[in-house]
């Protein structure tokens, strides 16, 4: 049976899917499939042949997808949400577990102030309404890594509601235009993390490590305002940057500090929303967009073939590159939500409502936290654009790499060259070099001062830009090459540059 050409529209960007399992190109390291002229490359997800039909067939339906996200971010705190045991990623199994975390009888939860502050700050950064009164609930389910048999969470009345997350995606034919999209934040709630299960299929057993049990989590619920994997990934990325700027979470997906579940459904535009599936285990930035797009395509295919979508929970299999149903779910889960009887309501105050004569340790002032909020990525980017006249894309790129912004600002401080030149050099030559050498900014052999000096020379027209580029190339070469390089530079500058100066600059760069 010939594979039908399916039209799936991402608002603001109309493109036709060729074949099954087409994946949106994502600028941030999602593996790109083979490219065909002008059309989206097909991912290696499905083993279907690529059909590049040029014209849409008759009777073809248009599809729209909606994606909602539930993002769990581990709070950066010293101790856990309800107990005084340490929060640490790597420690001997079960060494960071208190009696409460192990759910021994007679233990009670005691709320960590830092976690509440983290929740409020995140809520403020996402323009949420902070609930002056919020409540804790118990969500019951049985699993070996949840010793109490329930998770303490804030389902009914969470700490923050009704906010928004602004993020940017690249649109246009050559994806050169940046547009801002918004996803509404339904709520932010405080909840406990569970322990870790290590499955040993050989001996048919599971090993449980409770070090993570009880660690504070911020669950950020985004409404289904996103329409494809790329938008979801961009939203997650922006949230990651915000959390890191606030210091409320390190939000490192590789270390499990940021976990994403996606709720995905498809429908024909103008008609009601379709049945949604929940895709769990999206813990890699790299595969987030891919997994979501796969699921969207799977649902489209299923419906196009006359099938039905089940309201089920699925998991993303990284090896196979597809979503699979999760087996350990017997029918619908009944969480028997009930108020947590051991915790009174959480009350927050602002400067106006602060009761007089209270212990400052025991009250949280929202206004005070608002004043102390660090600069958000959005504001930093705006400032960069205004101050240095760079394109928005550049400001995004500068914030996208750890330490790059600081590097850039240090170069700016020390050089007389034009900011636009600095931007171009940092984002193209310098960053390109780092990527090629697989280095982080912190591992760079080139210091901001060195680059600043190089740019000064360039500015004074003491050396040519090609010579300057060669300097960075020489970094990986041998020291003898420096003489060759000096010669080159001299020639390039038509003998005008002072060889001692050149050598000095080059040597400094090579030795740093």
């Amino acid at each position: 049976m010939a594979t039908p050409v399916l039209r799936w529209c991402c608002p603001g960007r109309r493109w036709v899917f060729a074949g099954i399992g087409g994946v949106s190109r994502h600028g941030r390291g999602v593996p790109t499939g083979s490219t065909s002229s002008g059309k989206r490359g097909q991912s290696s997800v499905a083993q279907q042949p690529l059909i590049t039909a040029q014209k849409p067939r008759k009777g073809e339906r248009e599809w729209a997808a909606v994606v909602g996200l539930e993002i769990h971010a581990q709070i950066a705190s010293n101790s856990k949400l309800f107990s005084g045991s340490q929060v640490d990623f790597a420690a001997p199994p079960n060494s960071l577990v208190s009696f409460f975390d192990a759910s021994l009888p007679g233990t009670l939860p005691v709320l960590n102030r830092r976690c509440v502050e983290a929740a409020v700050m995140t809520g403020l950064a996402l323009d949420c309404h902070i609930n002056r009164r919020s409540l804790f609930d118990r969500k019951h389910y049985f699993y070996a890594d949840l010793p109490a048999g329930y998770q303490i969470t804030q389902q009914r009345l969470p700490i923050a509601v009704n906010g928004s997350l602004a993020y940017s995606v690249c649109v246009g034919k050559r994806r050169s235009q940046m547009v801002t999209r918004t996803a509404r934040v339904k709520q932010i709630q405080l909840e406990q993390d569970s322990g870790k299960s290590l499955h040993d299929s050989l001996r048919s057993q599971t090993l449980i490590d409770l070090n993570r049990a009880g660690v504070g989590l911020l669950e950020v619920v985004l409404e289904p305002d996103m329409s494809c994997g790329e938008e979801a990934a961009a939203a997650v990325r922006e949230l990651q940057l915000i959390l890191q700027a606030l210091g409320t979470s390190q939000a490192n997906m590789a270390e499990g500090q940021l976990r994403v579940d996606a709720n995905i459904s498809v429908h024909n535009p103008g008609e009601p929303l379709g049945i949604r599936t929940e895709v769990k285990n999206l813990n890699s930035a790299r595969f987030l967009a891919k997994a979501i797009d796969y699921e969207i395509q799977r649902q489209i295919n299923e419906l196009e073939n006359g099938g039905k979508i089940l309201n089920e929970t699925r998991s993303f299999d990284y090896k196979l590159g597809c979503t699979v149903p999760m087996r350990d779910k017997e029918g619908k889960q009944d969480y028997r939500l009930m108020p947590e009887p051991n915790l009174p309501p959480l009350l927050l105050y602002d400067s106006g409502s602060l009761p007089p004569g209270t212990d400052p340790q025991q009250v949280i002032n929202i206004d005070q936290l608002r004043e102390q909020l660090p600069e958000l990525p959005r504001v930093t980017r705006e400032k960069l654009v205004q101050q240095y006249g760079m394109l928005p894309e550049h400001s995004f790129a500068l914030l996208n790499e750890v330490g790059l912004l600081e590097f850039f600002q240090n170069v700016i401080k020390e050089t007389r060259a034009e900011p636009k030149k600095v931007t171009s050099w940092v984002l193209n030559t310098f960053l390109g070099f780092l990527k090629q050498q697989n280095l982080a900014v912190s591992e760079s052999p080139v210091t901001p001062s060195a680059l600043a000096e190089l740019l000064d020379l360039l500015d004074r027209k003491a050396i040519s830009s090609s010579a300057a580029k060669q300097v960075t190339d020489v970094k990986k070469g041998n020291p003898r090459a420096i003489n060759k390089l000096i010669g080159l530079v001299r020639r390039a500058t038509l003998g005008r540059a002072d060889p001692t100066v050149i050598k000095e600059v080059l040597e400094r760069q090579l030795s740093s």
Binding site: T206, L207, I208, L210
Partner: protein, 136 residues
């Protein structure tokens, strides 16, 4: 404590998915169906071993139903008896943990420093065939 959970579930509730079969009769029939018993047993892992136990449950529900006699129109529901208490906030310091050995002593089986559990949740019907506390 399951009485309370059951009663809370039987009331129409805002938020939270309770999934209890809604009773057509708002007063609540005094009979508890076998379906509901099975559902409760699966959810809470309690054992309503005998008809006596079921009868006791029905009596408990009837007892709790008497609360409906109270007129609560316009009264804000109470969340907990601790409502007027201050929620104590603890400073973010590490003061506990480091007692793996002690904790692991509680476990039936241990491998290195991990607790050992069956490979997944054992589905309820299978529990009839197996002894309750055996591990794989």
């Amino acid at each position: 404590m399951w009485t309370r959970a059951v009663w809370l579930g039987l009331r129409a509730s805002a938020g939270g998915r309770r999934g209890f079969p809604s009773k057509a009769d708002p007063q609540g029939s005094r009979r508890v169906t076998a379906e509901l018993i099975e559902h409760l047993e699966r959810l809470a892992l309690v054992d309503f071993g005998s008809q006596e136990a079921v009868a006791r449950l029905e009596k408990a529900i009837a007892f709790a139903d008497r609360l409906r006699a109270v007129d609560t129109d316009g009264v804000e529901p109470m969340e907990s008896v601790l409502e007027d208490r201050c929620l104590y906030l603890r400073s973010d310091n590490v003061v506990e943990g480091n007692c793996a050995e002690e904790l692991l002593q509680n476990s039936h089986r241990v491998v290195e420093e991990y607790f050992v559990a069956p490979p997944g949740n054992i589905s309820w019907p299978k529990l009839d065939e197996k002894e309750p506390f055996s591990h794989c």
